[in-house]
C-alpha cells in the first residue's frame, strides 16, 4: 500500500550545477519562491549574505554565501602591499532528490511521491507533519511550515511535465544550471571530472542511492572549501538506526512469538501431565 517506485539510477532528469559560474545574484532563489507561491520572508542581518539563513518552508532554494578571509598581495613597482579581504563562494542549495530518497522511505503515509522524472515531492494534502522526513534527510532539507506540515523543493515537477525547465534553471543569468537527462548530465559531469574539476553527486554513499539528481561541479579550490561542509562524502540518513530496527522488527516478533508459544505449550503439557495446572507455584 505505502510503497514507492524509485526510478533506476540512469532514469529521469538531472541538473548539473557549475558553481564556478555562480555570481550569487539569488535570482534562482526568488524565482523558486515566486513560481511555487511561497511568501516573501523578512530578511535579517546575519554574519553573511545568506538570507534567509537556512532553508525554510517558504524558501525551498537558498543561495548560501560561504565566506573565507584571505590576504591578497598587491605589487606596484617595487612596493608590495597586503590587503585583507574576503572570498565569497555562493552555493545555490535545495533538495537533492536522492535516488532512493530516505525521506520517502521514512514517510509513514506515503505523502512523499517520486514522479516519473525522479522528482521527490511532498504531496501537500497528505503530509501529517510527523517530521520523520526531516529526521531521515541526510542533507536536512524538509522544513516545517507554520501549518505544521513539511515543505521542500519539488524540482518544479509541474513545469517539467509541461515541457519547461525548473524555475531556478530558467532564470539564471549566468547559466550555472544545466537541465538535461540523467544520462547526459552524468556524461558531462564525468568529462568535467576528467578535466580536473571536482564533482559531487556521482559516487556518493550508496545509502542515498549512489547518484543524485542535482550534480554539483566546481574548481578544485572552490570545491575544497565548500564541499566538505555542504556535501558530505558519506551522506547517511541520521536515523538509519531506526530504519534498521524497523526492518528487524518483523522477523524478531515472529521468532519471539514462536519461542513464547513453544515454551507455553511445553509448560502447559508438563503441568497437565502432572495435573497441577493451578498448583505449580509461581505468582505474578
Amino acid at each position: 500500500m505505502v510503497k514507492l517506485r524509485f526510478p533506476r539510477k540512469d532514469e529521469g532528469v538531472a541538473v548539473l550545477v557549475n558553481l564556478d559560474e555562480c555570481i550569487g545574484c539569488r535570482a534562482c532563489q526568488i524565482a523558486c519562491q515566486e513560481w511555487n507561491g511561497r511568501k516573501a520572508l523578512r530578511t535579517s542581518f546575519s554574519p553573511t549574505f545568506t538570507n534567509p539563513r537556512d532553508l525554510h518552508a517558504e524558501a525551498w532554494k537558498v543561495v548560501f554565501f560561504n565566506e573565507f578571509p584571505v590576504t591578497k598581495t598587491l605589487k606596484v613597482a617595487e612596493v608590495e602591499t597586503s590587503i585583507s579581504s574576503v572570498d565569497v563562494i555562493p552555493v545555490p542549495y535545495n533538495c537533492l532528490h536522492c535516488t532512493e530518497a530516505p525521506c520517502g522511505r521514512a514517510c509513514p503515509v506515503g505523502a512523499i511521491k517520486v514522479s516519473d522524472e525522479g522528482a521527490v515531492v511532498i504531496e501537500p494534502g497528505e503530509c501529517i507533519g510527523c517530521g520523520f522526513c526531516q529526521d531521515a534527510c541526510p542533507y536536512n532539507v524538509p522544513r516545517r511550515g507554520p501549518d505544521g506540515m513539511f515543505y521542500k523543493c519539488s524540482f518544479c515537477v509541474d513545469r517539467i511535465q509541461a515541457g519547461l525547465e525548473p524555475a531556478c534553471v530558467e532564470v539564471c543569468p549566468t547559466n550555472v544550471f544545466k537541465f538535461t537527462s540523467m544520462a547526459e548530465a552524468v556524461n558531462i559531469a564525468k568529462n568535467m571530472e576528467a578535466q580536473g574539476k571536482k564533482v559531487y553527486g556521482l559516487n556518493v554513499d550508496s545509502y542515498t542511492g549512489g547518484r543524485l539528481r542535482w550534480i554539483f561541479t566546481a574548481s578544485q579550490e572552490k570545491a575544497g572549501r565548500v564541499f566538505p561542509a555542504m556535501f558530505p562524502e558519506s551522506a547517511k540518513t541520521p536515523n538509519s538506526f531506526r530504519e534498521t530496527v524497523e526492518s528487524l522488527a518483523i522477523p524478531a516478533a515472529g521468532i519471539i512469538s514462536a519461542i513464547i508459544l513453544g515454551l507455553l505449550s511445553f509448560t502447559w503439557l508438563r503441568f497437565k501431565r502432572k495435573g497441577t495446572a493451578e498448583s505449580g507455584g509461581a505468582c505474578r
Binding site: D135, P238, E278
Partner: protein, 239 residues
C-alpha cells in the same frame, strides 16, 4: 472452596486501574505501531481508514491511509499524555496512602532476591518446582515481578518525557532524532515487559490469579498460601 476461604487479592480500584492501563497501553501500542511500521500496519488500518476517508471525501488509495494515520497520530498524542496523567495521579495516590507495596520484595538481601528470581525463571521456563524455602518467602509481588516493574517504569518514564518533548517542544532535527530514539527505546522496554507479563499471564501457574484480576478479585486462601505466603503473614490474613 467456601466463600470464607476466599481472599480479595485485587480490589475494585486495582482492577479498574489495570483495565484502564490495559486499554490505554493497547491504544498507544496500536497507534504508535501505525507510525513506526506503516508497511505492515497499513493492512490493519485500511479497513477502518477507508470508510473514514470516504467520510472525509479524500481520494481513493493513499488518501485513506493518510486519514487513518492522521487519526492514529492524533489519538497517540492525546492518549499518551492522558495515560501519563492518570499514572502520575495513581502513583501519587499510592504514595500518599502508603499503599505502594510492590517494592517490598526488594527489602530482601540481594542473594535471596537472585535465588528467588532464578527459581521463578526456572519454574516459568521449564516447569521446575520452586524450592519450599523460596516459596515460603514470596510476597504479594515476587522479586521477578518487581524487576520487571522497574523495567516498565524506566520504559514509561523514557516514553513519557520524550513523548511530551516531541509534542510540545519545537525541537531542531538533531534533537528530534535523539528524542525519537529515546521514545523508541522506551517503547521497546515496555514491549519486553509486556511479553514477559503476557507469558506469565498465560502460564498455568497463574490461571487463578488471572481469573481474579478479570473477575471478582478473589483467590482461595489455599492458593494464596502456596503463592504469597509472606504476604499472608504480613497482612495477617487468618488461615
Amino acid at each position: 472452596m467456601s466463600g470464607k476461604d476466599e481472599v480479595e487479592i485485587a480490589s475494585v480500584g486495582y482492577r479498574i486501574a489495570h483495565w484502564i492501563n490495559l486499554f490505554l497501553y493497547t491504544t498507544l501500542l496500536l497507534t504508535g505501531l501505525v507510525l513506526l511500521e506503516i508497511e505492515i500496519m497499513a493492512y490493519i488500518l485500511y479497513p477502518f481508514a477507508e470508510p473514514l476517508a470516504k467520510l472525509l471525501r479524500l481520494e481513493y488509495g493513499t488518501g485513506s491511509i493518510t486519514a487513518g494515520v492522521l487519526v492514529s497520530r492524533f489519538l497517540h498524542r492525546f492518549v499518551g499524555p492522558l495515560w501519563g496523567l492518570l499514572l502520575t495521579i495513581y502513583v501519587v495516590y499510592l504514595l500518599a496512602t502508603n499503599r505502594l507495596e510492590m517494592f517490598k520484595a526488594l527489602r530482601k538481601p540481594l542473594k535471596a532476591q537472585i535465588r528467588e528470581a532464578k527459581a521463578l525463571l526456572q519454574h516459568y521456563l521449564t516447569g521446575k518446582e520452586i524450592p519450599e524455602d523460596v516459596r515460603q518467602g514470596m510476597d504479594r509481588h515476587n522479586v521477578l515481578t518487581v524487576y520487571l516493574a522497574i523495567l516498565l517504569a524506566i520504559g514509561v518514564i523514557m516514553v513519557g518525557f520524550s513523548g511530551l518533548a516531541l509534542i510540545y517542544l519545537p525541537l531542531p532535527p538533531t534533537q528530534h532524532i535523539l528524542v525519537l530514539m529515546i521514545h523508541d527505546a522506551g517503547f521497546y522496554l515496555t514491549v519486553i515487559f509486556m511479553l514477559a507479563h503476557i507469558y506469565a499471564t498465560l502460564h498455568p501457574s497463574n490461571i487463578t490469579l488471572v481469573r481474579a484480576i478479570f473477575g471478582d478479585g478473589k483467590v482461595s486462601l489455599n492458593w494464596l498460601s502456596r503463592h504469597m505466603n509472606r504476604y499472608i503473614q504480613r497482612a495477617q490474613i487468618r488461615r
